[in-house]
Amino acid sequence: MKKSIEVKDIAFKYNDEMILKKLNVAIKENTFISIIGPNGSGKSTLLKTIARNLLPQEGAVFLKEKNLQSYSAKDLAKEMAVVPQTTEVNYNFTVEDIVLMGRHPHIKRFKREGVKDFEIVKEAMELTNTWHLRDRFINEISGGERQRAIIARALAQESKIILLDEPTSALDIHHQIEILDLLKELKEEKDVTIVAVLHDLNLAARYSEEILLLYEGEVVTIGSTEEVITVENLKKAYNIDMIVERNVYTGDLQVFPISAKNKLNKRCKKSKLLHIVCGGGVGKDIIQSLYEEGYDLSIGVVNIGDSDWEIGRILNLKIAEESPFSEISEEAMKKGSQLATEADAIILTSIPIGKGNLKNLQIVKEQLEQGKTVYFYNEYKHVTKFDYTNGDGIKMLEHLKYLGLLTLNCKAELIKVLKG
């Protein structure tokens, strides 16, 4: 795909403080790229440099292989529209007036707006669902509506690139999703390139195709969302441990920061080896906690792609795995049994039991029969329905309890018991 924007060796400093240090970035055409990074990493400065609101001390930005400085203001506005961080307007222009201002680069100085301009404005306003607001004053509508109106103005500019500086930071979750859905739609349907500074990692991961991660004015990494949103990358920039997993419902990557406090008391290794029977995401919390406690862990049997599996992989645990959405095979069960046998104790989480993973309980049963300690960590004790086998699962569980399964209802209790 063609390069749309190319940032070459850009250095920018305010007074003596280097904000951007020799930055190199290439942005493709028709992509949705998010710029993320901690506060002070230079995200907004980079965006403003690309928008030509700031002139870098060194290096240059190229737009369609032409130096940004060689564009006239109007020509640049035809190529690129900007949605600034604050969109407040103190004068009572109507929403339509504001959107119509976006036509400025297309209208000659001595001319007024023509029929075509009004048509384009109407289309932009309908697309952003602001047409019904056209006669309202811009300073009297809500923040979300105003943000949409400003995006409509950017659309009326008919540029193929839209730069946005934290377009959702002042909005509630509903309006955040609404704006980002709109941007994604514009990218798909109007072939617009979206470059957005975003604060929220989860929204960035969910909506963008590509991500640029900045840290202290330097590029940590740039690439597809999958490549950038990794534990190592995020740790470099944000200096905090994170869990990255895949959301069960949307299939998007999701980031969970682990509190900055825990980072300080270094994880001290404990000699105990634990095996956790989990799946379907019910284990991720206990896996993280026990990992932080310092236990060696193994998990299984879980399906590949399952969020418990993701965490196991991130933390580099031994995993007895099975291909996605398939019943546990003999082979996987053997691996699971082996891991369980190696462990000093086993923790059964409150996994939803179906025909596919009944074998997990089978493994637990074998271990109990061999006299190993097995804890049943029933975190979701208020959830009664976790049996999808018409009673076989419950029956099996009752039998396990008879064999000596120890039920514990809270995490603190479990950790205490494990410490002995």
Partner: protein, 350 residues
């Protein structure tokens, strides 16, 4: 922006109001002139510039003294007060938009202090002679206004940019500095105090056609230039960065507006003295009753400001005739309460 039909009506109303005000103003005064005869004299003047029509107005039944009073004394005064009010109000709109500051007026970048200092120097030096029909006081005031604006502009400029905040602060600082020098002049030549004070309060007394002609072209051309940039000013209201992103050459536009406005203000001040309040209040009044869109606001504000100053000057010369009240006093006395009334009625932010 959208060309709403009521905008056309507003301009028709304003022009009718302007013509009526002018005729009435020409009628009011010590000499007992009727509305009809002043209207006739008006028309004859207008027609003398359009000889193609070949229409003659019969002025034979009007006493020649009346014709002289209207033609040579009242008419130029009316036209000049209109021009000054128009110029100050148009510049006020441009500055308030460009500086994004509701407190801005044409004098905010030190123009008035520079003009006052220039005038004070001329008065102190007893330069009573005239040059090309214009007194040296006016010429000094004009130069003072331009000089102070020039200094302020250069103080505020950093590299290729003129940040708005620095411009305002430099304007205030230079303004204070020049006022201090003027006060010093008033102390050392105390017998000139009255004439300096009167000059700084503004007046149209004994201004003639030569003043009108000198003021006419700079103000007309200047306002046309500003009008061409009114759309850019609209965009600049959304912030300079935003305006730039929408295709406005912000720094160039600011320079053009500053230079044009400074020239217009200097011309206005040199023929009338310092008439405060008009350039601050009239743009706000026009914004409230017309529209914040500078393309409509600017001409509307100019017309309203012109009408306002014609009315004010009529009062100035008739209230306690034969003594003239300085125009600046009446503008503040009448404009202030009216503005507060409008503010309270609309209860909108400016």
């Amino acid at each position: 922006m959208t060309n709403k039909p009521q905008n056309g009506k507003i301009f028709i109303v304003l022009i009718v109001a302007l013509l009526t005000t002018m005729v009435v103003s020409a009628t009011v005064g010590a000499a007992d002139i009727t509305v009809v005869s002043s209207l006739k004299i008006f028309l004859s003047h207008i027609l003398s510039y359009t000889p193609i029509l070949g229409i003659q107005i019969d002025l034979t039944d009007i006493p020649s003294s009346h014709i002289a009073i209207v033609s040579n004394i009242r008419l130029p005064r009316i036209l000049l007060s209109f021009l000054v009010g128009y110029a100050l109000s148009v510049v006020g709109v441009a500055f308030q938009g460009m500086l994004k500051n509701p407190m801005a007026d044409p004098f905010i970048i030190g123009t008035s202090s520079g003009a006052a200092l220039g005038a004070a120097i001329a008065i102190m030096l007893k330069l009573n002679t005239a040059f090309l029909g214009i007194g040296f006081v006016s010429i000094f005031a004009f130069c003072g206004a331009l000089l102070s604006t020039f200094i302020v502009y250069n103080l505020a400029r950093s590299k290729a940019k003129v940040p708005v905040t620095t411009l305002l602060l430099a304007g205030v600082a230079i303004g204070q500095f020049f006022t201090a020098i003027m006060s010093f002049i008033m102390i050392i030549s105390s017998k000139d105090v009255t004439s300096i004070v009167f000059w700084t309060m503004g007046s149209f007394s004994s201004r003639g056609w030569n003043h009108v002609w000198i003021a006419f072209f700079p103000i007309l051309i200047g306002s046309i230039v500003l009008f061409f940039f009114s759309k850019d000013i609209n965009l600049m209201l959304l912030g300079e960065d935003t305006a730039e992103n929408m295709g406005v050459e912000v720094e160039r536009t600011k320079k053009i507006i500053l230079i044009t406005s400074a020239l217009m203000t200097a011309v206005a001040v040199s023929v009338s003295g310092i008439i405060g309040f008009v350039g601050l209040i009239i743009p706000h009044i026009a914004r409230m009753i017309v529209s914040p869109d500078n393309r409509i606001l600017m001409p509307a504000s100019g017309l309203i400001g012109g009408i306002f100053l014609v009315v004010v000057d009529t009062f100035a010369r008739t209230i306690i005739a034969p003594t003239e009240v300085p125009v600046g006093i009446i503008t503040a006395l009448s404009g202030g309460p009216f503005f507060i009334y409008l503010l309270r009625r609309s209860k909108k932010m400016i």
